[in-house]
Subunit: 328 residues, 2 copies
């Protein structure tokens, strides 16, 4: 089979590529061809027997999607987006990339199907940012989407388009709302959500980290490893089980910062915990206050999506996948 | 003040124009200027003292909206859309008019605001078609939008855009989901929902009508008069009371076809009821089976939106507004 990954150079895209090339298959079908696409050149994976093409493509250029789809991939992972902060700062860019780019892709698939039978699987990464406060402590599967960011708006529109294009038979699509990925590998970043990862990743590597909120802040998490598992499952699942409700909140772990820190203590000891410095930041406190804390993801669970159930597991996944099993 | 009505030649647009010109004001502000726009030339209202401009405009042409918005109307009623059946039959046309047209309008307002301070009120008519079965017997204010038509998808996307453009401060918008309008004036039409009006309007005029479903079918209604009342209220309401949740299901009357017929009997007598011929139509039965039956519109009620509470009132409104008070 032929798999196209759009957004292949991002953190999740790279991990998905690694997983697919390691497995050599998606579900019960062998992967013969990979097309890896991003706005910066994705790296070709090492040790993959099949054909690999890496392309630098801006999906918001109208001609880009038709050229990709003309290759007729069997499965398309659409992970490309600019993030929340950037979509809020640059209104035009957010709509151009997150909305127009997605619509160009969906429409290119439809147009390709008009040339001859073609109905790929499309896996679209949406976001819990489609929900906006106030919401219940646990957000259920039938709660409405009232985003409070342009990014969340663009994702919610992508979900609606995906469901309609699927219903009309143009492709077989699923939109998955990923929890906040933790522990994000790499360097500390300035995203408002960065500290959730920083306060674990940095101490595990022997570095100091800053905690800008109180320890009772609760949020919704899954590991990068779980995120890749979600994508692979979404790429193989029988979607007729979803009817036309093709967008779904995925399972995650609802945990407080305090619970994160206790897990760090259990896995890495008191010395690691001592590397966290409390430095309240009113701006971040205010932003995070509007975020979802917990979800009832029964529907996704019944469809076989699985996430971690403890922060100990999330930390251990990081130590295994990023630190070669060793705590610094 | 200056009011722009897009979709002014449609049934609701014409009734809104009549109401505004009869009142001479919207809320506490005098109407000095009306711009009436549709894909077919709207009629200029008789007996209106202010300036009137009627324009034939296709909103799906990118240049159309900027030219309209350059006139800087204070209030914009955006009623223009192609209907559900047509949007389902012609995928491209539906997206072009119902989605692109709406987005061009919203974006034109934003661009106009970049030239100099400008923040009009925007009233967007959405639809209960944003909801898709299965749903609860009474659809609440926080139920999710999973449309089962392209029309419903396009309206749901319009709602998301309206909320985001309002949140970003580009205009002050409200999206209102109208109940099914009953009794629609005019001739019987072939819309699947047509019979709800036909079985009242035709007998009231001394004509026969066909009932294609059973009398226990339940649906959600408001009169054309109530619809105009909704629009006027939406044009004047203090929208800060809505926060950023700017889209809302309006009040209506949940009634069965049997209740419609009983009201007809009370208002117009047994002779009128005898003009209804039962002729089951499996296609229509199946379509209508997927429609919403009832809503909890508490939020709209608390914001002051008011609909009829009995079918007798709906029928009487029709007799007064369309038949000059006389039953045929």
């Amino acid at each position: 089979m032929h798999i196209l990954i759009i957004g292949a150079a991002g953190m999740v895209g790279r991990k998905l590529t690694d997983r697919l090339t390691a497995d050599g298959r998606l579900g019960d079908r062998e992967i013969e061809r990979l097309t890896l696409v991003d706005v910066v050149a994705p790296q070709a994976p090492a040790g993959f027997a099949g054909a690999v093409e890496t392309l630098t493509v801006d999906l918001s250029v109208p001609e880009a999607a038709p050229a990709l789809v003309a290759r007729r991939p069997d499965v398309i992972f659409h992970l490309a987006a600019i993030v929340s902060g950037e979509a809020e700062a640059d209104f035009d860019k957010g709509y151009r990339i997150n909305l127009d780019g997605t619509r160009y892709l969906f429409e290119a698939i439809r147009q390709e199907g008009l040339k001859g039978p073609y109905k790929p699987r499309v896996v679209f990464t949406s976001s819990i940012a489609v929900f906006g406060a106030p919401f219940p402590e646990k957000i259920g599967d039938e709660f409405f989407t009232t985003p409070l960011t342009s990014y969340g708006t663009q994702k919610a529109i992508g979900e609606l388009l995906l469901a309609d294009y699927s219903r009309r038979g143009f492709f077989d699509g699923i939109g998955i709302r990923l929890p906040t990925i933790c522990i994000r590998p790499g360097k500390p970043n300035k995203a408002a959500s960065g500290f959730f990862s920083n306060i674990l990743r940095e101490p595990l590597a022997g570095q100091e980290a800053v905690l800008p909120v109180s320890t009772d802040v609760r949020h919704w998490f899954a590991s990068p490893r779980a995120a890749v598992g979600f994508l692979v499952h979404a790429g193989t699942l029988d979607l007729s089980r979803m009817g036309w409700r093709r967008n779904i909140s995925l399972p995650g772990l609802s945990a407080t910062v305090g619970e994160e820190i206790e897990a760090l203590r259990r896995v890495a000891g008191e010395a690691a915990v001592k590397r966290i410095r409390h430095e309240p930041d009113e701006t971040i406190i205010k932003i995070v206050d509007g975020w979802a804390r917990d979800f009832d993801a029964s529907r996704a669970e019944s469809l076989g999506f699985v996430a971690e159930t403890s922060f100990d597991d999330i930390i251990r996944a990081h130590v295994e996948d990023e630190l070669g099993g060793t705590i610094g």
